[in-house]
């Protein structure tokens, strides 16, 4: 069981990036045999905390002890050697190398100085079996695995380092539900064997299911550490954002269903979309639900012109349209916008300035004939920043300096500048702090009220329940069930996701 002696302890740790205080005089402890949640908004300091603990960055002040002995990790490999291992979201896998190579990357079994492939492969098979992934052939290239399997390989790799302290940073967000259950089981086993596990996630239900201790950070400071059950979720969120929260989701508008603006009939693509029929009206927020990988992302990409070889009909306002590319989707006669899945690699040009990113989709709007109009550009940038209340230093700063939530706001602002009629969002609040999430929910409702047709995919069914007028649950490339009004609840969503007929008499 958990002993009271901390295994990892930080005292007085501070870290500054330029003028920004990422961590300020933080004391933190984690115990053996415990799954310890680290909570906080983006910019609260949790990522810096674990980067320091796992050797990715060094603190400016303060000390760290492991098992009572003072330590200072100059690099991730130093931390690993000491037994502190961190699992990121797919950040440490080399796509072109095999699974076996990746799992034993830095310290492979050797014979006569050369890597022993056979022993390495056996090692990979053992570790994969431990997390229920026997079906993964260790010879496969990581690139050829689906996202969820890649994350499992990352976890297997971490387990192979025989950690004393295991840190998971949003490590389950890419996993299928089945894999998530497996990982919960593995984590419980590790906890029972005395490991200290630090768990960072924005998903409250995960934290409630797994963790026995919770720590809240805010603005770089450690606010409080307590056992599970000491506070209820609302209190915890208040600690995280430092103020009383209003109802989390904006009020839904109760009114009859508006006529269809965006109409999809029989949309099919490869074997990922198998005949989708869906409509979204102006002023509606329609959500896409279901298990991961059932075609939700592909549907959004198809509507935005990214997929080649689609069949079926898409109509806007009754007229059939063809959408061969994002350039066409954005065009004035269609005005479709997509907030993509990965803001860092698909939504933003990170080294470029905030201003440049904001106008990237509206270059023709800020032009005067052949040339860009500096005045129009400036006005557009300021308007964008204002509208979404983006917290920045100067518009000429690189967008990489912003926090995750603010970066996502830049992506959204970029698209709002094109005055879209149809807004598609691909999991827009993933990895974003609670405060910004609420702002985004309110924004979506406002946009719908102003007449946009909103279609968004979310992996968080609380969000779907709270935000959407209708939810279309997808399964295996088709819409399994459409839920409306009071039928939008957890039981219905889950049963539709799992392709089970909902129980007959199901009131809200």
């Amino acid at each position: 069981m958990s002993s009271d002696q901390p295994i990892l302890a930080l005292r007085g740790v501070s870290k500054r990036y330029g003028g920004v205080r990422a961590l300020e005089d933080v004391d933190f402890e984690s115990r053996r045999g415990s799954i310890h949640a680290v909570l906080g908004e983006n910019g609260a300091g949790k990522s810096t905390l674990i980067k320091i603990a796992s050797g990715v960055v060094q603190p400016d002040e303060g000390s760290m002890t492991l098992d009572g002995a003072p330590v200072r990790f100059a690099s991730p490999s130093a931390a690993n050697a000491a037994g502190v291992v961190c699992i990121f979201q797919e950040l440490s896998l080399m796509p072109d190398l095999s699974v076996a190579d990746n799992i034993s990357a830095a310290h492979p079994p050797r014979r006569f100085g050369l890597i022993d492939q056979r022993v390495q492969r056996r090692r990979a098979e053992e570790l994969l079996a431990r997390i229920g992934c026997e079906d993964v052939n260790p010879l496969m290239r990581v690139r050829d695995l689906p996202l969820s399997r890649r994350q499992m390989v990352e976890i297997a790799k971490a387990l192979g380092k025989a950690p004393k302290v295991l840190i998971l940073d949003e490590a389950t967000s890419a996993l299928t539900h089945a894999d998530v259950e497996t990982i919960y089981r593995v984590l419980e086993e590790l906890k029972a064997s005395g490991l200290s596990i630090l768990y960072i996630s924005h998903r409250m239900h995960e934290i409630e299911a797994l963790c026995d201790r919770l720590s809240v950070f805010r603005n770089g400071r450690h606010i409080s550490t307590f056992d599970k059950g000491a506070h209820n979720p609302e209190q915890i969120v208040e600690m995280m954002i430092g103020r009383e929260i209003a109802a989390q989701y904006p009020q839904k508008v109760l009114r009859p269903r508006p006529p269809a603006y965006l109409s999809i009939k029989g949309l099919a693509w490869e074997n990922r979309l198998k005949g989708i029929d869906l409509s979204v009206g102006k002023g509606e927020i329609v959500g896409l639900g279901g298990l991961d990988g059932q075609g939700q992302k592909e549907l959004l990409l198809a509507l935005f012109g990214v997929l080649a070889g689609t069949s079926g009909d898409i109509s806007l306002d009754g007229k059939k349209v063809s959408i061969p590319s994002p350039t066409a989707a954005k065009a004035a006669d269609k005005r479709i916008a997509l907030i993509p899945e990965d803001r860092k690699t698909e939504g933003l040009m990170l080294p470029m300035s905030i201003g440049d990113n904001l106008v990237a989709a509206s270059l023709s709007r800020i032009s005067n004939g052949l040339f860009l109009d500096a005045g129009k550009e400036r006005a557009a940038i300021e308007a964008g920043i204002q509208r979404l209340q983006i917290k920045i230093g100067a518009a000429s700063d690189a967008v990489s300096t912003l926090s995750g939530g603010n970066q996502q706001k830049v992506v959204i602002a970029k698209w709002l500048m094109t005055e879209p009629e149809v807004i598609l969002l691909n999991d827009p609040t993933r990895g974003i702090d609670v405060g910004t999430k609420q702002e985004i929910y309110k924004l979506l409702r406002d946009l719908a009220a102003q007449g946009a047709a909103v279609l968004f995919y979310s992996t968080d069914y609380d969000e779907l329940i709270g935000c959407c007028d209708r939810v279309a649950v997808m399964y295996d490339g088709k819409i399994q069930r459409e839920l409306e009004g009071e039928a939008i609840n957890e039981k219905n969503i889950i049963s539709a996701s799992l392709n089970i007929a909902a129980p007959a008499s199901e009131a809200a």
Binding site: L97, A106, P108, I115, N137, L139, K157, A308
Partner: protein, 347 residues
């Protein structure tokens, strides 16, 4: 679950394709050659292939890391000129000359690595600059073509095993019975195989070698995995310099002279890039092997051999070479057309 063998084949498809292409071209060539399938032709061919194959191996290593080495041709030329000054005289002097020449190439490669890693300059532009420096050194060593290389060495290394043994009085002057099955093999081929087996294959199996692939695949992930990035980068360029040095040394022995030929250096460098691509290594890094580049070099050379046989108008040869190169590159890329999700086109 796909079987191991099918996985291996699929993963190495470009490499296997290169071997197959070479086999087809070479058999074709020998079929139409009046003296085809003879040792004489094989010896002549191996001599013509060796230097380019080694320069292609040199180019492969930085390319695997997602970079490029524009100095390989220049380093070859530099070592060529150095060797033309040193590899003659007493046996001790000859051995000394060989060792120093190889060391020079290796050291220059090491210098490239240091500049790229600690200067934090992109390899393509750093090696563009160091290539100029190497050519300058070559000119200092040999302002005009000339020089002298030991005649015995020249004969021994550019013919078959039996000639090598005869020159140095080994194995009953090459007539030993057990030697006969391999006596016909050209020495350059043996050298090529030895270098590939004794240097490249083991290197690839070390952590440093694997790190080179890792860096090409995802440098950030390689760092997070605790792989020795700086060490691997420097090792990559050093190995590249060694291979380029081997090419230069052989060129000196083969031609018995040194020549600071700038256009030739440039041609070797550009051809090495083509050989690397044809051999199945991706310019984006992370995928490929130096042995594939050997076959890529051989394919390039065999194409020009074929021109000789068919007495193609020499004026048309460059055009054919260009079209074949461009065609090969395009065919390799046709897999792109199957991709239906355009986001996947952006790596």
């Amino acid at each position: 679950m796909p079987s191991d063998l099918s996985l291996r084949i699929r993963q190495n498809a470009p490499f296997i394709g290169a071997i197959a292409l070479f086999a087809v071209f070479y058999v074709f060539y020998n079929m139409f050659h009046p003296k085809g399938f003879s040792t004489q032709v094989l010896v002549q061919n191996s001599n013509e292939v060796f230097s380019l194959a080694l320069v292609a191996m040199a180019q492969t290593v930085p390319v695997l890391m997602g970079g490029l080495d524009l100095s390989v041709g220049a380093v070859m030329t530099m070592v060529n000129c150095l060797a033309s000054n040193l590899v003659s005289g007493t046996p001790l002097q000859i051995v000394f000359g060989i060792v120093v020449s190889l060391l020079a190439g290796t050291a220059f490669g090491f210098l490239n690595g240091v500049i790229v890693v600690y200067g934090r300059i992109q390899s393509i532009i750093a090696t563009l600059a160091t290539g100029a420096i190497a050519i300058g050194i070559a000119l200092l060593l040999r302002e005009k073509p000339g020089g002298d290389v030991d005649a015995d060495l020249n004969w021994a290394l550019t013919n078959s095993v039996v000639d090598f043994c005869e020159t140095y009085g080994l194995f009953e002057d090459g007539k030993a019975a057990w030697l006969q099955p391999v006596a016909w093999i050209p020495v350059p081929l043996i050298l090529l195989v030895l270098i590939a087996l004794l240097v490249w294959v083991p290197f690839r199996r070390t952590v440093t070698g694997r790190t080179i692939y890792a860096i090409g695949s995802s440098e950030g992930a390689a760092y997070m995995s605790g792989l020795p990035i700086a060490r691997a980068k420097i090792a990559a360029f050093t190995l590249s310099g060694f291979f380029a040095g081997c090419a230069g040394l052989f060129l000196a022995i083969q031609t018995s002279s040194g020549n600071a030929d700038i256009p030739q250096a440039g041609a070797y460098t550009l051809n090495s890039i083509a050989a690397v691509v044809i051999g199945g290594t991706s310019l984006l890094g992370g995928v490929g092997t130096a042995i594939g580049s050997i076959f890529g070099a051989m394919i390039l050379r065999v194409i020009s051999f074929n021109f000789r046989i068919f007495e193609i108008d020499p004026l048309l040869q460059p055009l054919f070479e260009g079209v074949i190169l461009l065609g090969a590159v395009c065919i390799g890329a046709l897999g792109i057309l199957r991709i239906k999700n355009r986001l996947e086109l952006f790596r």
